[in-house]
């Protein structure tokens, strides 16, 4: 009971966060000017595209009689091709994301949620379908979807490093994985492989704290993971710096390799940097040049 209660309470606390998050995300999203979303060719869609003379293989049903009646030729009303894309958002809600080196910096998870939600808002405004894997949130294009996503983003995962969820992965969707990617690399690789097999292409977006990239520590130190499951003790933290930075670079290279092999893209964002830049990059990577 008490566990349930506390969980419920926690959830409520978290949910209480999401209107401001939503607001922030919307404000962030307004900074991106929506471009044209029509495919600019005829296809399935609602908007009128053109009338063309009916051809022999056209179904009779397609003949637009109002137009045809003005002339001798039978016309077919074509609509603009408006295939809605599905975007799958995955945000690492693991404990490792819930950290910032300074109180003046946002936590990584906050930045990740913000970006994810902003992308979701942009996508839905753009008529795309947005969903999340595994959270019973298949891609939809309703306004309510944003709220659902926001709610889904408000829950913290207990584990230190959360692997990407690849259970429900809509085929041929686009995917956005936001994480620090400190977790097990093989799981990430597996997820991406599975996703790629389903025809999903996307972006890996790594969010890091500045201190995670500089490792400015000295002296005898015990490093705890945020969840407390992993601990590493060193007598001279300053000597670990180069090793750590090497490993970080190695990890980034591996991620890049993985991405190039699968045709995905990888992005990087530091919590100390401006979220707008990250959002713009994400927006263009997800939609840009894909007309």
């Amino acid at each position: 009971m008490s566990v349930h209660l506390s969980l419920n309470q926690q959830a409520e606390n978290e949910v209480a966060n999401f209107p401001p998050l939503l607001l922030k995300a919307e404000r962030l999203a307004t900074t991106v000017l929506l471009g044209e979303h029509g495919r600019r060719r005829s296809g399935l869609g609602d908007d009128f595209w053109q009338y063309r003379p009916a051809q022999s293989d056209d179904s009779r049903r397609l003949i637009d009689h109002r137009r045809s009646a003005t002339s001798d030729v039978e016309y077919v009303r074509e609509r603009e091709w408006q295939i809605a894309q599905s975007i799958i958002l995955w945000v690492d809600q693991g404990a490792s994301m819930r950290w910032s080196s300074k109180s003046s910096l946002p936590r990584k998870i906050d930045e990740a949620r913000l970006l994810a939600l902003a992308i979701a808002i942009l996508a839905i405004r753009g008529g795309e379908r947005v969903g999340m894997p595994g959270n019973n949130l298949p891609p939809r294009r309703e306004k309510h979807q944003i709220e659902r996503i926001a709610r889904a983003l408000s829950f913290d995962a207990p584990k230190d490093y959360q692997p990407p969820d690849h259970n429900i992965m809509t085929s041929h969707a686009r995917a956005l994985f936001i994480s620090d990617f400190f977790g097990d690399l093989s799981e990430i690789r597996q997820s991406i492989t599975i996703a790629t097999q389903r025809g999903v292409k996307g972006v890996l977006f790594q969010i890091l704290d500045p201190e995670e990239e500089t490792f400015p520590y000295r002296g005898r130190t015990i490093f705890d993971s945020i969840g407390g499951t992993i601990r590493h003790q060193t007598l001279k933290a300053s000597e670990l710096q180069s090793h750590y930075l090497d490993r970080l670079r190695e990890r980034k290279e591996k991620l890049t390799d993985l991405v190039t092999a699968t045709g995905w893209q990888i992005g990087m964002h530091r919590t100390s940097d401006n979220a707008n830049v990250a959002l713009l990059w994400l927006y263009h990577t997800l939609y840009g040049g894909r007309t």
Binding site: A95, S96, M97, W99, K108, D160, Y161, D180, F182, G183, D209, E212, F215, Y217, R218, G219, R220, T221, I222, F223, D224, S225, I226, I230, R231, H232, Q233, T234, L235, K236, S238, E239, L240, H243, Y244, R247, L248, R251
Partner: protein, 923 residues
């Protein structure tokens, strides 16, 4: 106590712990600094990494050193190190503390008392009785508990004389058979009786000696030597060269004491005495009252001056005279007699009188204009001495013939008489021996002094009292009349040798000396002064303070010159009629010789630095080091700047605010004036003790509240005043608690205080010590009160009478309790002539003022004191009657303020019937 290299240790074995320091060094080096725990998501990337170097970040050597130092300091600190350690003195026997107690001790008196105080304390801890004897005032030693003496210790003062052989003998005889050890506080001077007494004391037990090592200085009498004042400085040690400042001190025309001159005495190596010469203008020279050594505080370092140093200013009035041989001149002999010792001015009277000379001599001058006469009369009345000589003109004139002239001592018969000449019969007359009432008493009369011509005095009822010298046939030769403070003296002979050969004789000079007309050139002989009683005017105490000689006995003249100083003969200034003689502690030719103690006697010095326990200091250092270590460690491990810089800034700001708030509080006087005049405000004097100040404030607060509630006086919050720079004039009442350590206000502060008192202010002095039983002893607070009020303009006081206005200004009161219930309260004495009896009750109608001071010791502020909630702060001495006593204390306070505000209103006659009614005595 073990002494190692000049330091004493109470627990020396602890020092062995220092040997463990190297081990500690290695241990500290081996133990890495405590790890910092950090949350770090990137820890996953660290897994599997190992430190290349298994040794942790070493603690830096300086930090290690700091820690080692801290530990070493702690070890040394706990081992009880003591600076200037003293050998333990055991007290197997009662302790006799023997003070020489002479002026030579005065300079070191305080140090001596401190030493003795600790000595008594240790004797007390060994539960040995103590006795204190001052050899300058010997008594039979009374062995009492250490505590009893501790209290009385501060009342010992050095005496301005040296113990005499007789006193020592008396003292030795008082000793009985009990064993005791002696601590002898020596004045370091050599005395003849020293060894006798030492031998006597050694039969009773051990003798230790406390003797100052600092050199002694003294001044012997000042002399005039051809217009220059010579002061001889003597010193006890002759080894090194030294420079000593000698000050000439006297009063300026307004009567305040000033330094009139300063000279440096240079002692060469081997000199035991040296001289300083003061060459001062006569005006200044005459003002000198004493010489003193600047740095030394003792009766021996002061020499008082008397008539010997006064060069009198004498005006000899000249009249037109025929040219003639000088030897026949009226003034020639006078000038010859007076010039060695006085300044002589001659000229017109009206020109010289404004210079206020000491003596005006009219030698056969008869005619004075009325202007001259009034000027001269006024001058005589103000203390001048008019010396007249007869002569042919006086004899021929009608001056003072029928009626006594104001400026003549007697009436004169016409013509005078002539005896023993060629045309007259009879022998030239000789002088008859001087009478005991005569100022010339005991002057020897040379055989060949004769008088041939003189003016004769009219017989008169008052003639005999005016005659101070007569001839062998009884006719007056010198007559004198006092006019107010001055005198007129007439020599019935001429001032030249025509009428008598007296002006040619040495007797004439001595007579002039005796009349204080000229200054004696030689110190007086004891024989000359014999059987005259000289009364003390000012006396010196052992410290060299000049005090008024109240109720000190007179001294025989012979003793004055050659007698020993003692309890019945203080050094000081002695007076007989017009003459003043100073008796100084050191006489001309006195030397200061140091005493030599036998080698087996242990001689300590009060200046031996007191034992200082270093333990606390070292431990404090250790803690400070550890604190630095904490900061340094934090800084090294990057944990120092937990506080944001903004916090640090605000902390700093707060600190500086706290520090500066004091100075801000000391607001300028304008603000104070605004505050004090906007409301009635009770004020107290800020002392050196913040606790007392708070109590005064709380007390006046309580009183203000009571006034507010009960009377139409509605005071504001009380204010503490700093006497040095605050204006007092706005406050009707100043409450001044006395603390023993209160610094004496500056001269300007006293000026302000006196102005305050004169302009109707009232100061309530509270010594807060009425709980200490009144014995003959002065409490430290009372002593300080005396010190503080010495320069205050305070009228004569009397204990508060039961009919004083203060008893009925608001409440009818007969007791004036504070926290204590002493009835000893002093107010300005009421002139008894003002007392009026009305229906059996005495009412005093004082002049309109309020008694400027009220002095008591009941700690009134303590009784009035309330906290912010109006609850009493301090308990009152009596438990059960407490509320009543507090109420009475408040009532007294109310009366006090009413008294300060309304003065003698309540003693006004108008209210008497009503008051009598209320007292139940009306009908």
């Amino acid at each position: 106590m073990t002494i190692l290299g000049g330091l004493g240790f109470t627990a020396p074995w602890l020092l062995l712990g220092l040997g463990a320091l190297p081990i500690l060094w290695f241990v500290l080096r081996a133990i890495p600094p405590a790890p910092i725990r950090r949350k770090f998501p990137g820890v996953a990337l660290l897994l599997g990494l190992t430190d290349e170097d298994s040794v942790s970040d070493r603690t830096p050597w300086w930090l290690l050193l700091l820690r080692m130092l801290a530990v070493a300091l702690m070890i040394v600190g706990f081992s009880g190190p003591t600076l200037n350690p003293k050998e333990n003195v055991t007290y197997p026997n009662p302790l006799l503390i023997l003070f020489d107690g002479s002026w030579a001790n005065a300079d070191q008196w305080k140090a001596n008392l401190e030493f003795v105080s600790t000595e008594i304390e240790t004797a007390g801890r060994a539960s040995q009785p103590v006795a204190i004897v001052q050899l300058t005032h010997p008594e039979k030693p009374v062995f009492q508990t250490a505590d009893a003496w501790q209290i009385r210790l501060s009342n010992l003062t050095p005496m301005p004389w040296l113990p005499t052989q007789i006193q020592i003998n008396e003292f030795i005889q008082t000793l009985d058979t009990t064993q005791f050890d002696t601590l002898w506080i020596s004045d370091s001077l050599n005395h003849a009786w020293r060894n006798t007494l030492l031998a006597a004391l050694e039969t009773y037990g051990q003798v230790r000696v406390l003797q100052s090592t600092s050199p002694l200085f003294g001044l012997t009498s000042a002399k005039f030597d051809s217009g220059i004042i010579n002061v001889t400085v003597v010193r006890s040690q002759t080894v090194s060269e030294q420079e000593i400042n000698v000050l000439a001190i006297g009063t300026d025309p307004t009567g305040t004491e000033r330094i009139l001159g300063a000279k440096t005495a240079n002692f060469k190596q081997g000199d035991s005495n040296t001289q300083v010469n003061f060459d001062l203008p006569i005006e200044l020279g005459n003002r000198i009252t004493r010489f003193e050594i600047q740095t030394t505080r003792s009766a021996g370092a002061i020499t008082l001056t008397d008539d010997n140093l006064r060069r009198r200013e004498i005006v000899i009035v000249t009249v037109r005279e025929e040219e003639g041989p000088e030897l026949l001149s009226q003034n020639h002999y006078l000038e010859r007699a007076l010039s060695p010792s006085a300044e002589i001015f001659s000229g017109a009277l009206l020109d010289l009188i404004p210079a206020n000379p000491d003596v005006v001599i009219l030698a056969d001058v008869v005619t004075l204009t009325s202007n001259e006469e009034t000027a001269l009369t006024d001058w005589v009345k103000n203390g001048g001495t008019l010396l007249r000589f007869a002569g042919p003109r006086l004899a021929a004139s009608n001056l003072s013939r029928v009626e006594e002239h104001p400026l003549m001592p007697v009436r004169l018969r016409a013509g005078g008489r002539r005896i023993g000449g060629t045309m007259s019969w009879g022998e030239p007359k000789k002088l008859s021996p001087f009478d005991i009432t005569s100022p010339f008493f005991r002057l020897s009369i040379p055989d060949d002094v004769t008088v041939t011509t003189q003016v004769m005095a009219q017989p008169d009822p008052r003639l005999s009292e005016r005659v101070i010298t007569s001839l062998s046939d009884g006719t007056p030769l010198v007559t004198r009349k006092f006019i107010d403070q001055g005198q007129v003296i007439l020599f019935h002979i001429s001032a030249n040798a025509e009428w008598s050969n007296l002006p040619l004789s040495g007797l004439f000079v001595k007579m002039l000396e005796r009349l204080s007309i000229s200054r004696p050139t030689k110190p007086p002989n004891p024989e000359d002064l014999e059987s005259m009683t000289w009364s003390p005017n000012k006396i010196l105490d052992g410290f060299g303070h000049l005090n008024d000689a109240t109720n000190k006995p007179g001294v025989d003249g012979a003793k004055l010159i050659s007698g020993y100083l003692g309890p019945d003969f203080f050094p000081g200034i002695y007076q007989h009629q017009e003459r003043r003689i100073a008796r100084n502690v050191l006489k001309a030719g006195d030397q200061l010789e140091l005493t030599e103690w036998p080698s087996y006697i242990k001689v300590e010095s009060p200046l031996d630095k007191p034992e200082i326990s270093l333990g606390g200091l070292l431990l404090a250092c250790a803690i400070a080091f550890l604190f630095i270590d904490v900061v340094a460690t934090l800084a090294l491990s990057g944990r120092l700047f937990i506080f944001k810089s903004a916090n640090a800034v605000s902390i700093l700001l707060a600190l500086t605010l706290i520090l500066t708030s004091k100075s801000v509080q000391a607001s300028d006087n304008d603000e104070l004036a605004m505050l004090a005049t906007s409301e009635l405000i009770l004020a107290y004097v800020v002392t050196d003790n913040p606790e007392i100040d708070n109590q005064s404030k709380a007390g006046l607060m309580g009183l203000s509240k009571a006034l507010f509630n009960r009377t139409s006086v509605e005071p504001g919050n009380p204010i503490g005043l700093n006497l040095e720079h605050d204006d007092l004039s706005f406050f009707p009442l100043l409450y001044w608690p006395i603390t023993p350590t209160q610094p004496t206000p500056s001269a300007e502060a006293y000026l302000r205080l006196n102005a305050y008192l004169r302009s109707g202010g009232m100061i309530v002095f509270d010594t807060r010590d009425a709980d200490i039983p009144a014995t003959s002893l002065l409490t430290p607070n009372k002593k300080q009160l005396r010190n503080l009020t010495k320069l205050l303009d305070i009228p004569p006081l009397e204990p508060l009478l039961s009919d004083h206005v203060l008893t009925r200004t608001f409440y009818l009161l007969q007791d004036f309790p504070g926290r204590y219930i002493s009835r000893e309260i002093w107010v300005e004495a009421m002139p008894s002539s003002n007392a009026q009896q009305i229906d059996g009750i005495t009412f005093h109608t004082l002049n309109d003022g309020v008694s400027p001071v009220i002095i008591g010791g009941n700690d009134w502020a303590g009784a009035w004191a309330v906290d912010n909630n109006g609850r009493p702060l301090l308990p009152i001495s009596r438990g059960f009657a407490e509320p009543r006593q507090r109420e009475l204390a408040l009532r007294f306070g109310v009366n006090l303020v009413m008294y300060a505000l309304t003065g003698n209103y309540k003693s006004d006659q108008v209210h008497i019937p009503a008051l009598l009614d209320r007292l139940g005595l009306g009908q």
